[in-house]
Symmetry: C3
Subunit: 349 residues, 3 copies
Amino acid sequence: MTRTDFSYTLGSIVERFGGELVGDADVVVNQVAPLSSALSWHISFLSNPKYRRQLQNCRAGAVIMGVAERDATDLPRILSDNPHAYFAKVSALLNPRQALAPGIHSTAIVDQTATIPTSATIGAFVFVGAGVKIGEHVVIGSGCHLGEGVEVGDDSLFYPQVVIYQGCVIGKRAILHSGAVIGADGFGLAMENGCWIKVPQIGRVVIGDDVEIGANTTVDRGAMDDTIIENGVKLDNQIQVAHNVHIGAHTAIAGCVGIAGSAKIGKYCTVGGSGMILGHLEIVDRVNISAGTLVTKSIAKAGTYTSVMPFSEHQDWLKNAAHLRHLDKIAEKLSELEKKISELERKKP
Amino acid sequence: MTRTDFSYTLGSIVERFGGELVGDADVVVNQVAPLSSALSWHISFLSNPKYRRQLQNCRAGAVIMGVAERDATDLPRILSDNPHAYFAKVSALLNPRQALAPGIHSTAIVDQTATIPTSATIGAFVFVGAGVKIGEHVVIGSGCHLGEGVEVGDDSLFYPQVVIYQGCVIGKRAILHSGAVIGADGFGLAMENGCWIKVPQIGRVVIGDDVEIGANTTVDRGAMDDTIIENGVKLDNQIQVAHNVHIGAHTAIAGCVGIAGSAKIGKYCTVGGSGMILGHLEIVDRVNISAGTLVTKSIAKAGTYTSVMPFSEHQDWLKNAAHLRHLDKIAEKLSELEKKISELERKKP
Amino acid sequence: MTRTDFSYTLGSIVERFGGELVGDADVVVNQVAPLSSALSWHISFLSNPKYRRQLQNCRAGAVIMGVAERDATDLPRILSDNPHAYFAKVSALLNPRQALAPGIHSTAIVDQTATIPTSATIGAFVFVGAGVKIGEHVVIGSGCHLGEGVEVGDDSLFYPQVVIYQGCVIGKRAILHSGAVIGADGFGLAMENGCWIKVPQIGRVVIGDDVEIGANTTVDRGAMDDTIIENGVKLDNQIQVAHNVHIGAHTAIAGCVGIAGSAKIGKYCTVGGSGMILGHLEIVDRVNISAGTLVTKSIAKAGTYTSVMPFSEHQDWLKNAAHLRHLDKIAEKLSELEKKISELERKKP
């Protein structure tokens, strides 16, 4: 949260993004900061009414907060119906993406049939294959590999060491983080005479616009049809997306999730960290999968779904876990007791 | 599923791979496609009798299917005892691996003591250390790193940005996908005076023939002995194989699986996605571990093993989860009731 | 376990590291090896009394073992209160890190404002951004990327293809394995009008001294404040550390673990493989999380915590799993039976 090169008055921010300003419109802010550490040149953000107490000693120049919090502080404040989104926009205003000089680094290897506009930036040690098509203002970080025929839409940003296999298509305004691998072969195998035979993976990965893909996330190419990631999907780090998966628009998936082959996930879904979704199933729009949950069947109804074993002290767990293997017997005993009691009740005087 | 440069008559396919042809032997196919989207120049594949309905409007030039499905369509068809494997071979025939011009890219850094046959292809920005031995027709994609003394068997293919640490051995016909890291240090630590001391990891990774390793999968070198992956093993993406693990021949492991140190897994096993196998245990041949299952003990008998908490709507889960922490009490109460009922029964008139 | 270039007598080892020598001080050892395969020029190690049987046919030149095992063998032996740590030190003595010639490889791209001492080694295809500060004797493997303003402390070692995003700080004596990505954006999103807006991630990753980070592990930069990894932390492979996580000193985390945003983990904790720790919670010092355990709440007391569903043969699991969805009903039935029995007992003659 060091100083940026940008300063704005609260008045100019409200003019730009709307919201209601309470306090001095001439206050100048230069950077965002949390309530607890903000100084006079910072604009801060009350993300949740339960942190309201932190406003008491807050030294921020201004605070972005919900309309309902109007009287929770005397500090200059911007009230918004959606303070989180408002804050995101103010932070982006103060922290714009660093402009890089366009051009192709002298060490990059670019096939002569590739199309690279003069507005694009191609970093050191980048490999660009035959027939690649790069959009306007695209930035390809050092050490990336773009296989034959790859297409990258305008304004996309690849951090260093992203690999895109041949033929895959990335939309506009994509952000791909380091170590992401797009288009590796799906896990397609047939067993014959005691050996696995590889099933060629001839589909592509086709990624829409405004997609962000985290560090070391992998998205496999389709077996025959393509693997599809629609517009606005956000994938965190270390996610595995198998062949022929289809992820609907604006779905957000947290780190370490695995999605098995041919799973179809709807729009506006969320999947919590370390979740796992089995293959060949379908999840409708607006489903939320809790962290650590394994989805074994299709989900036909929007809502939140969970399959988590609660954690406990190990000694307590040991006692309970023993019974987990014998629930069937517990249920059986219970039925027997019910019968016996019915009999006793019948016979009672 | 665009057109390939290869066309075959059904007659020539049956001549090559066997199977029974029903229909016109002169039909020419050029590419594979799913039943739902195949056109006249495609050969398709009925993977499962339950998809038989898709044959009705299928426009494929031909279909590969099981012997039992002989009458399920009027389309030209090839009947096979193992249609999945048959399909894999036809697809590989139509989609052969792209032949690359052999040679060492001008940007590659190759130690003068490395052995690289003229049939091998070494890509841009590749680093080849001292004493490395590369087999015939090997392809090393751009940006790979082969540490000192690494050996790679004939006909192996490394996609871009694979890292092999010093001394590791890869067999013939291996396929390693981007971001795979072979031979990093195992997680060996000893605690002394409140600090962790690193235990040097001096073993290697030794990988047999016909092994495929997925994108961003990691296989650690052994602490003293080697980590061993036998012939024909297939590892999907994002798998972690710890030091001194031994994976038996033809075992296939799906994405996001973790295998802890010194685990020994038999031949012809499968592990479903996100499974986890603890260390220092042994699993015999032909064991199938379900997706999401944590294996905490050795398994001495072939079969399928599972440890999955079924998922449900969050509200239902909340109600059930509360009891999971108290199964011990449920079992206790049940025992008490059983005693009381016995007593009541004894006393009953 | 091939011969090293180093030989030491047992006498000189005890002189250096302490411990009690039983047997011939002039025995020379050259390498470490397991009990089962050690030869006369090896020094071996009894890690656990339960392996004592392996001493019977052991042919090692010497064995490191606990004081209590003094009479378990006639072989020359070094007795130590902490044989595991003792062994680690002997192995490090015999297997010192390979000394590399310092210097900057001719293919590396180094910004002229970067500070690189003559004692450092910068590998092939390395990119070093503006303002980077490298410590003494640092080794940066081939293909690494150090973004603008990165700092790396003395004696640190980066294996090939590590990526450090701009502004992150790595302490002294760090070991980072291939594919590690430090400082990618945290997963910060705000929803507005049906689209996710990216929340700029302006914090850094700040890593203390003596930290080891495994292959393909990712540590995200903070949203506003920094993500902090304290001294002596050890992270295995394929771990995901989200933005604003704080990991206390000397905590060790096994492979495939996910740690969600703003989680605070204490000192001297351990997390088993494939564990998952949810965000915005706090775990005190000296907590051990079992493998595969999902931590959903803060933990205020040192100890071991577990949430694992025991695995079983699939058929048995099917029977039990059915009841897991209905524990609530089982508990309810049990209460009803208790009432009925009380009533029967009241009425009994």
